[in-house]
């Protein structure tokens, strides 16, 4: 079993997704099942194959490093669940 309860706990914590203790077993089985299915890729001989990172056969264009947008904090902050002045507000992180 590639994915067990402990693995789920770890990746859930990395992904900042809370998984209740009583769901861990079920989720581990489900995820392990999917990983078991994708492991059929091990049948493929990939020796010497270059990984494909982009389908766009293009050289990425360069642009000037100029500020071309911005300076409207109210528009940017309009969707914030909580704000104070010109800032996003979050629970206190520094004592």
């Amino acid at each position: 079993m590639a994915i067990d309860k402990t693995t789920v706990r770890t990746i859930a914590s990395l992904a900042r997704i809370r998984v209740p203790e009583d769901e861990l077993d079920h989720l581990a089985r489900e995820l392990d099942n999917i990983i078991g299915w994708v492991e059929q890729l091990n049948e493929v001989d990939t020796d010497g194959v270059e990984p494909m990172t982009s389908v766009a056969d293009l050289t990425l264009p360069r642009r000037d490093d100029d500020v071309t947008d911005g300076d409207y904090p109210d528009r940017v902050l309009a969707n914030a669940p909580d704000r104070e002045g010109g800032f996003y507000a979050v629970p206190k992180v520094v004592e």
């Binding site: 994915i3 693995t7 789920v8 990746i11 859930a12 990395l14 992904a15 900042r16 997704i17 809370r18 998984v19 989720l27 489900e30 995820l31 099942n33 999917i34 990983i35 299915w37 994708v38 492991e39 059929q40 890729l41 091990n42 049948e43 493929v44 990939t46 194959v49 270059e50 990984p51 494909m52 990172t53 982009s54 389908v55 766009a56 056969d57 293009l58 990425l60 264009p61 642009r63 528009r75 940017v76 309009a78 969707n79 914030a80 669940p81 909580d82 996003y88 979050v90 629970p91 992180v93």
Partner: protein, 488 residues
């Protein structure tokens, strides 16, 4: 005015030009149709007021003999994955609750610049993750071809709301997005035309990201000509998307010559999978026969790594999704669940804001990218992706396009395949290979299943050769004499 909703985009454009009706009349007819088909749950947000304003502006441009766009006065629906300025954009997720974009996606901006009229935002699987439009926070969309034997049918997904709205004549055309088949499979399930252009043809800027190396926007319409008209308006280079292709957009409508004599169409033998229903195989053979009668040469080809495209796709898509969806943290926009600490707030927000399938994919994506597993899963999947793309490149040395089924089954009842994620993923077996290779691919309605449900066939083309597949698709659809209209 019910006749107005039976027009194609091309007919409506001509009717508007001749003054047979106004853009406002056309918009009103479609607003009424949108309201009359609410039972389908095709729309998350209806924007009738904006539609009327845009239609009035179109009529005013026409009255003043101003320059008109190729879609001037044409009412369209927009998948709710495109950011629309001042109109709520949900991605079908609870986590974007209350989000009103302060900007417009490039593709929708192109549509409005072409004169199109926005009817509303259509339903989808949450963040585009699904093949049945059942994972939406706003409930499932129903296929207008149902119910069948008393059961509602899924419209396919993830662009199921767009497909259902087009099939139900609630709009003249719609836009969707396709990561692994999310335009093509719902188009097939709902009996409409759907085209995923070449990666880079349409800008991704302002589209809520799912898997950035795969996502692509495209049109969903009732005729191939309409898809050609819409794609022409949507496509084009955009400096705001670094993967957008700096290439001119051809006249797609002009490519529909009706003449495919001498074109070579490949039939990849690996798409003949075990357990494929006879009705799917028969449609495929019928499609090949129709193309042969129209003068195309049908050639057998081999794409040996086809079988491995689906698992490679899911690894890559989940990995990219886990990275893209890290931004939903309850701080800058959308839904927030308070917590005692910042981390607790993140965890509360994300566990309550995301649905089950999205969480599953984020967790798996996190796993395949995590230290110690990266090489075994993600890197290997990228290598397989290369092999899949190479298969296509070799095949296209000999053929102009490929003809394949779109999906292993027609539309299935709502509620099926919900318990088993892999059964749902198998819907995408014929659509993901072209996605991995970034190739243009479209679904064309060609016939019916034994249960009288629509079935499409897929045409896959060379990079940036949307023209070829549109030309072949147009001939195929006419030859199949297929009406994309739902049964009354």
């Amino acid at each position: 005015m019910s006749g107005l909703t039976d027009l194609t985009i091309a007919e409506a454009r001509d009717g508007l030009a001749k003054g047979d009706f106004s853009a406002v009349e056309l918009a009103r007819a479609h607003i009424a149709a949108m309201e009359a088909t609410r039972d389908l749950n095709a729309f998350i947000t209806e924007t009738p007021e904006r539609a009327l304003e845009m239609a009035e502006a179109s009529d005013a441009r026409r009255a003043r003999d101003q320059m008109l766009g190729p879609l001037d006065g044409i009412p369209v629906a927009v998948k709710d994955l495109f950011c629309t300025e001042g109109v709520a954009t949900t991605a079908g997720s609870h986590i974007l609750e209350g989000f009103v974009p302060p900007y417009e996606s490039t593709v929708t901006a192109n549509l409005w610049a072409a004169g199109a009229v926005m009817l509303g935002k259509t339903n989808l699987d949450e963040f585009g993750m699904g093949s049945a439009t059942v994972t939406s926070h706003f409930g499932p969309t129903k296929n207008p071809w149902g119910p069948k034997d008393g059961k509602d049918l899924v419209p396919g997904g993830s662009s199921g709301g767009s497909a259902a709205a087009v099939a139900a004549h609630a709009c003249l055309g719609a836009i969707g997005t396709d990561t692994g088949g999310s335009i093509r499979q719902p188009a097939s399930f709902c009996g409409v035309v759907g085209l995923k252009p070449t990666y880079g043809r349409c800008s991704r800027w302002g589209i809520v990201a799912f898997a950035s190396s795969l996502d692509q926007a495209g049109p969903m319409t009732r005729t191939v000509k309409d898809a050609a008209i819409m794609l022409g308006a949507m496509a084009g280079h955009d400096p705001k998307d670094s993967t957008s292709a700096p290439m001119p957009v051809p006249d797609y409508e002009a490519a529909l010559t009706g003449d495919i004599r001498g074109m070579k169409v490949g039939i990849p033998k690996e798409y003949r999978v075990d357990g494929m229903p006879g009705e799917i195989e028969r449609q495929w053979e019928k499609g090949a026969a129709l193309l042969r009668e129209a003068g195309a040469e049908i050639v057998d080809v081999s794409l040996p790594h086809t079988k491995y495209a689906l698992p490679a796709y899911y690894i890559i898509a989940m990995a990219e999704a886990s990275s893209n969806l890290a931004r939903y943290d309850g701080v800058r926009y959308g839904f927030r669940v308070p917590g005692a600490s910042l981390d607790e707030m993140y965890e509360n927000t994300r566990s309550q804001g995301f649905g089950l399938e999205v969480k599953r994919r984020i967790l798996l994506g996190t796993y395949v990218l995590s230290a110690g597993y990266y090489d075994a899963y993600y890197l290997r999947a990228q290598k397989v992706r290369k092999l899949v793309a190479d298969d296509f490149r070799k095949a296209f040395d000999h053929v102009d396009a490929l003809l394949t089924p779109v999906s292993p089954t027609p539309a299935f009842p709502l509620g099926e395949r919900m318990e088993d994620p892999i059964a749902m993923y198998l819907n995408d077996v014929f659509t993901v290979p072209a996605s991995l290779a970034g190739l243009p691919a479209g679904s064309v309605p060609v016939g019916y299943s034994g249960d009288l449900l629509p079935l499409g066939l897929q045409l896959i083309g060379k990079p940036f050769q949307e023209k070829s597949i549109l030309r072949i698709a147009d001939v195929l659809m006419s030859a199949a004499a297929q009406s994309a209209l739902p049964l009354e």
